[in-house]
Symmetry: C2
Subunit: 431 residues, 2 copies
């Protein structure tokens, strides 16, 4: 179909013809027996190959840290000093306020929250977080919501704009309700919208009045160096902003190397005020003797400074930026300039957020599934897996090859159109 | 002093002379400015050298698991199948009932208990573990007690004998009090006593009537292959025993490679009934995308089967058994056959448990500290750090060199004698 796909002023007859043709196209897709996957934000094998040297590092005779510590033995709860220094520079956190804590930043977020639930935030007067609520900018990251749901924490959705959460709504809510204890934030290249928090939004988050004295910002800086353009977008320093605003303990910062080196065998980090870091350390001490210092040393040898991280990330960009461009160009070819779909054009991160007509997202995902194209379940980007408008679909272009991506996105466009035409026909029949 | 050290029928004059001589010996120790450490059960550098090949494994081109999984990417929550198979055989747990979960078995214990505290044990009618109690065989492992104390769980000490906990006391307590929800067990070469649970004790633990339907045995199998003698002591299979006794979900098994390969960069394991493994997995899913599969692969390449683990452990034994023999021989030379001190002669594990006269342990540790010999704080082997008799001292002979061990144990013997003589003099003065 090269004709412009415009359902705004189309006759029922034309709509019916279009439906028949789209159904045929969809049937051909189904018959093609595809096996394509746009679901998870996984690095491609070519990206993982960039870190192949890690697989034989640190090397047989190399196990001493800079201070002489034998990295093969127990101890060192907060991580090797050089690891904290290098990655503190990368993530913009003072080395002394950064802890390395294993292979999963999600686990650090989970554990911080569990500690809050069981014991509060560590102030003398702080109570365990029982029957509390959290603000969830949407669309957002399903695993954030899963942690909250597992702990029985009520989730309140707030709109996420290009420059961050809707601060008018956020400020009103947190000022009024002391049971709202926290907010999830992915400040840069947010999952899935690619939103980048503006300096104004960050200043407001840091300074806003909260009814809860123990309010915490869970700052998941998952994509801080994951640029897709020359621009290399920066965001304001949340810890400094909180400090300046007189709320030095408000933010917990999380980050990892999962999409920098290898996924699942990287390093992860917790950063905050010195007071919060001491608090977190107390719980880490109960849980473990220390992190995997050999893996820390491996990363130090491979990425000895912030400049080497930057160089590596530009190699990642060279691999994945063309994938994003391809998906965006195919979406544009089939759906550009129509009212049927809109999507984000991220400057970094791992996702494209696609908006289809209200009530169509689940249908699109279902049609795609029939055609062998796996999409993230509709609703996954919302608390409780429920997208109130049933319109958002998260696309993850990094893992598939370019040819697979082309096939999958072409097929996706057919499914979006078919679902939109079905809706238009149903609306016509109902009117 | 070559004379037999016997305070049982000694005159006050002789005691006073002995005291003067021991004080002189102690002063010479202090002047020697030693810096020796018998505190923690850490492997010696020579032991860590046995696993040097791990430092460049799996090797640059090697990242595929047996089933083709790219170990560099996300996923695989329960661990690679070959890891579960190999270590299932080592630890005597069916591969399908064993999860690999990172670098710290202590963390797995902690998390299991946190899950119990927050959500119960996973049965339809199970309640969160609030205001509960735990049985703690003593002397025991301080980090076990730290987890309980942190969670506000009341600890009840029960005596640990050579063949396991005092089961008459255990059975009476668990039958009577439904708030007693669990017991810590280190079934083989227990920390610090070297106790080995007998088949009878294990059968009783598995079958005993508990007032709490959700009673759990936390089975920390930390030293299962850590033999110090040819005997290679075995213990009964707790999961099978629980199954046979009609309590299939009673035991959580924990183990790690921390003292097999490298400490802090090894693998750790949770094993239990299929039902409990599914339960644990649910919480792991909330917390993480998966374990470090590259580290799993590294271990698979280095230790491809249970036989290779056995061979490695005999090399460990060759290094550390002489250290235990040295400490035991020096203790025997100075304190053997007296009533002043007794100690364990472990067939495996990492510790010797020393009993000094009641009320003397803290004094011995203090005297040793003055002499530059660091000992585990008196009381550490008891809940809340309080040894009611103040008599137990944990010795960790693995890390120091033989010459350091000789110096430290000679010095320790002086401190034990001096504390005992001080006590005898004080008793004489009081009578």
């Amino acid at each position: 179909m090269d004709l412009t796909f415009d359902l705004s002023s189309i006759s029922t007859e034309a709509l019916t013809a279009m439906h028949a043709e789209l159904e045929q196209q969809h049937q051909r897709l189904v018959a093609a027996n595809l096996k394509l996957d746009l679901t998870r934000g996984k690095p491609a094998p070519e990206q993982l190959d960039l870190s192949l040297p890690l697989l034989d590092l640190p090397g047989e005779g190399d196990y001493k840290a800079a201070d002489g510590t034998d990295a093969r033995n127990y101890g060192g709860l907060t991580g090797l000093p050089e690891v904290r220094q290098i990655w503190g520079e990368v993530f913009g956190v003072p080395a002394g306020q950064l802890i390395e804590g294993g292979n999963s930043s999600l686990a650090l977020m989970h554990d911080a929250l569990v500690n809050n639930v069981l014991f509060g935030v560590g102030d003398a007067d702080s109570e365990p977080w029982r029957q509390i609520k959290f603000l969830c900018p949407v669309p957002g990251y399903d695993r954030h919501f899963t942690i909250l749901e597992g702990l029985g924490i009520e989730m309140i959705s707030v709109p996420l704009h290009e420059d961050g959460p809707d601060m008018a709504i956020v400020k009103e809510l947190v000022a009024a309700d002391p049971s709202i204890k926290g907010i999830w934030c992915i400040p840069k290249y947010s999952n899935p919208t690619g939103s980048v928090f503006s300096a104004e939004v960050i200043a407001e988050l840091a300074s806003m009045s909260t009814a809860a004295a123990d309010f915490r910002i869970f700052w998941d800086n998952a994509y801080s160096v994951h640029h897709l353009t020359e621009e290399e977008v920066g965001v304001a320093d949340i810890l400094a902003a909180c400090e300046e605003a007189g709320n030095p303990d408000r933010a917990y910062v999380f980050a990892s190397t999962s999409k920098i080196t290898t996924a699942g065998s990287g390093l992860s980090f917790f950063g905050s005020s010195a007071k919060n870091v001491a608090w977190y350390q107390k719980f880490m001490f109960r849980r473990t003797i220390g992190p995997d210092k050999i893996n820390e040393l491996r990363h130090v040898r491979f990425l000895p400074d912030a400049a080497s991280v930057k160089a590596l990330m530009s190699q990642h960009r060279a691999i994945i930026a063309p994938k994003f461009e391809l998906v965006l160009s195919i979406l544009d070819k089939h759906l550009g300039g129509t009212e049927t779909a809109t999507w984000t054009t991220p400057k970094g991160g791992y996702f494209i957020s696609l908006e289809v007509p209200d009530g169509c997202a689940a249908r699109v995902v279902g049609l795609a599934k029939e055609a062998g194209i796996a999409l993230t379940p509709a609703g996954a980007t919302f608390p409780y897996g429920r997208d109130p408008r049933d319109s958002n679909i998260r696309l993850a272009p990094t893992f598939p090859s370019l040819s697979e991506l082309a096939q999958a996105t072409e097929g996706l466009a057919v499914c979006v159109k078919l679902a939109a035409v079905e809706k238009a026909l149903a609306a016509g029949a109902a009117s």
